[in-house]
């Protein structure tokens, strides 16, 4: 145990930076805005590292326990249900702190070069601070509502940053899409939270995820469609995670989100925000593992499926950022699958550890890839691979760092990706051979498409470039730092740090799995080299021979079209339009009808008032007669 009070500043600083630069936007010099943001995240980074060292290495005890470093009541919903805002320090949150602050700081620095001269320079940094704050708040959350709050804020900053080039229609559309898709997924998350709170009467992780707590030890709730209510709740929670982490079928927003500035893609859509779903599942892992194993199976399935699915699409894409986006989806699928196959405690929890490990390493190499891509785009002013070729001459620093990251993601030792991927494969192998087979294939596909990208961009034919030059130091330094991380992150003893129950365990190296996986990765690399190292027609031939399959994957399995069909055709045209029609014509029509009928009736009965005295007298008399007859029959005394 120790005093982690200072961690509160990790949250406060970016938030203060956001508020300060946000409120005074337009009044500050853009460079000053950037300086404030960088300063804030820089201090936060230092504090995060300090916290990590304190937590992992200055910790006296054998196991890592969760510590509530700070907590105050933000909002009282009822006498028992209270929403706290606080800081939860445990192994995964500390690990995430390191990841987020590091990548974020790098991206901040990188951006000063990348975004130079942009109209929205100040705005960009303001929102970056907001994102950092939200993401840090998310991982430090002590309870479900807090995580939901920051979850939404993360989504918001993602929306704002994707839409940074708001005058570009495609960016606007992408931002909207990202928001709405994740929002829809969050609906499930929210309902899941409500269900959990209904059964437990609390939002707090410390109570919900307590392995000896009531939620896990006692069966609660009824059974619905063959699964317990708790399982349903956990599946719904996962739905939120799937939305943020772009799991099938919610993945569609992520490739479009590449419309944002590239550093944003690196930070939000590669390293940090998109793994929030993985983090969420990890955060709730105790419950999943001990009380809702069926939900875990769902997670494993979705994860495995997505990783294959996205990898297949990635092969055929031509936009470098899209390729990276699909690769991100695929890699997150890996992590999800790993969580899904994981057991609880000790060696059985390898999948969990592996997933976190992969998350950690992935953050470094994927951020590096994106920033490298950013560097390329910065130089070439295009996203399309057809505009690139033989860039290794022009962009040497970018080339080297990019290659390191590509090797890492392909799982080539000794780069970090190799270690984490190996653990995942081992976990899958131990649990489900089918998943192992799928992931094994995906490893090969990954190596293939990444090297396809690499070769097409850095080798291949020289194109005509306009005054092309290597990016400024502000951009290359972060690349080198991240490359350094990519190189050495794999050597961290993760199973000693991050485990399901906080108790470290020893892993041994799975040679039987590692060697074949390296083998298939190399195979992928060789195929890619053969096809793309030199410009040739072979790739087109293969594509043509695959025919329909090629075009289906190139069109991303038409998932977007299905979505558009469902929203435009079904929800808008078949539900909303009729609702509007119903409202205008039936409901409002009824109100108007009442009025019109009254007026029409008024016109109808005007003959009653004919102006003729005879008739008046007749009506008079009839009135009397009716009254009298009424009494004669009803009061016959």
């Amino acid at each position: 145990m120790g005093n982690y009070q200072y961690t509160i500043w990790i949250l406060i600083l970016p938030f203060a930076a956001f508020l300060f630069t946000g409120i005074l936007s337009g009044k500050l010099k853009p460079s000053f805005t950037a300086a404030i943001s960088i300063g804030a995240i820089g201090i936060a980074t230092v504090l995060s590292y300090f916290a990590a060292i304190q937590y992992f290495f200055l910790n006296a005890s054998e196991s890592y326990t969760a510590i509530e470093a700070a907590s105050f009541t933000w909002y009282r919903l009822s006498d028992t249900l209270v929403i706290d805002m606080g800081i939860l320090i445990d192994s995964i949150s500390v690990m995430m702190l390191v990841v987020i602050t590091t990548v974020s700081l790098m991206v901040h620095i990188y951006s000063t070069g990348y975004m130079k001269g942009d109209d929205g320079y100040a705005r960009y940094f303001t929102f970056l601070s907001l994102f950092s704050f939200a993401m840090l708040g998310l991982v430090l959350a002590t309870n479900l509502i807090q995580i939901y709050v920051f979850w939404e804020l993360v989504g918001l900053s993602s929306y704002l940053l994707i839409g940074h080039y708001y005058q570009k229609p495609s960016a606007v559309a992408a931002a909207k899409k990202a928001f709405i898709v994740t929002r829809f997924a969050d609906l499930g998350f929210l309902i899941g939270i409500l269900m959990l709170s209904y059964y437990t009467g609390t939002f707090s992780f410390s109570e919900i995820t307590d392995p000896n707590g009531p939620l896990i030890t006692q069966t609660i709730g009824g059974v619905f469609l063959g699964l317990s209510t708790l399982t349903w709740a956990m599946i719904l929670v996962f739905m939120g995670g799937a939305g943020k982490s772009a799991m099938f079928p919610f993945h569609i927003w992520l490739p479009d989100a590449m419309e944002g500035p590239t550093p944003i893609s690196a930070l939000i859509h590669a390293a940090t925000m998109v793994v929030a779903g993985v983090f969420l599942v990890a955060r709730m892992f105790t419950v999943y593992s001990l009380a809702a194993p069926e939900a875990l199976e769902v997670i494993a399935f979705i994860g495995a499926f997505t990783s294959l699915f996205a990898a297949l699409i990635a092969i055929t894409q031509t936009d470098i950022k899209k390729i990276l986006a699909y690769s991100t989806i695929s890699q997150i699928g890996y992590m999800m699958m790993a969580l899904g196959v994981s057991g609880y405690s000790g060696e059985a929890g390898l999948g969990f550890t592996a997933s976190m490990f992969h998350l950690f390493t992935h953050a470094f190499f994927k951020a590096l890839l994106f920033l490298g891509a950013g560097s390329i785009i910065h130089a070439v002013h295009s996203n399309e691979m057809k505009d690139m070729g033989n860039l290794r001459k022009h962009l040497p620093a970018t080339h080297i760092t990019f290659l390191i990251a590509t090797l890492a993601i392909s799982g080539i030792p000794p780069f970090s990706g190799f270690f984490s991927k190996d653990e995942i494969l081992a976990a899958a192998y131990a649990s489900n051979k089918l998943y192992f087979a799928v992931e094994y294939l995906v490893a090969g596909l990954t190596a293939f498409y990444m090297f396809r990208l690499y070769f097409k961009v850095f080798w291949g034919k020289e194109r005509t470039y306009e005054n092309i030059q290597e990016s400024p130091a502000s951009m290359t330094i972060p690349l080198w730092i991240l490359a350094f991380g990519t190189l050495f992150a794999g050597f961290l003893p993760f199973s000693h740090l991050v485990t399901t129950d906080g108790i470290p365990f020893d892993t041994h190296f799975h040679w039987n799995i590692a060697l074949p996986s390296v083998g298939i990765a190399l195979a992928g690399i060789f195929i890619a080299a053969a096809l793309y190292k030199k410009e040739s027609a072979r790739s087109q031939k293969i594509a043509a021979s695959l025919g329909a399959f090629y075009s289906v994957t190139k069109e991303k399995f038409y998932v977007d079209e299905i979505y558009i069909f469902i929203t435009k055709k079904i929800i808008f045209n078949l539900i909303s339009m009729p609702v509007v029609w119903f409202d205008r014509h039936i409901v409002d029509g009824f109100m108007n009808l009442t009025g019109n009928t009254t007026v029409a009736l008024s016109f109808r009965i005007r003959k009653f008032q004919s102006g003729n005295i005879h008739q008046y007298a007749l009506v008079f008399l009839t009135g009397i007669l009716i009254a009298t007859l009424f009494y004669l029959f009803y009061y016959p005394n």
């Binding site: 005007r606 003959k607 008032q609 004919s610 102006g611 003729n612 005295i613 005879h614 007298a617 007749l618 008399l621």
Partner: protein, 105 residues
Amino acid sequence: MIEDIPLSHILIVSTLIFFIGVYGFLTRKNMITMLISVELVLNAVNINFVAINRYLYPERLEGHFFALFVIGIAAAEAAVAIAIFINLYRNIRSIDVDEVTEMKY
């Protein structure tokens, strides 16, 4: 003499006159004839009052006096009504009720 005629007989007659008057009021087009019908109605009522007074409550003359006043009022009413008829006649040269339907609906 009242031994010979039962009360109900008189009441029946008066009621019939009343409704004859009503019928006249409903069917006559000339205003003066309508007024005549009203006089029939009033007379019918008067018969009622007087007969009831005489047969049932002879000790007090309430019905009798009532009838007396009704006659007086009938006269006043007729006078004013006829004055208005004449005025109308000067305006539209007719005292037919079907002609006075300028205001309706």
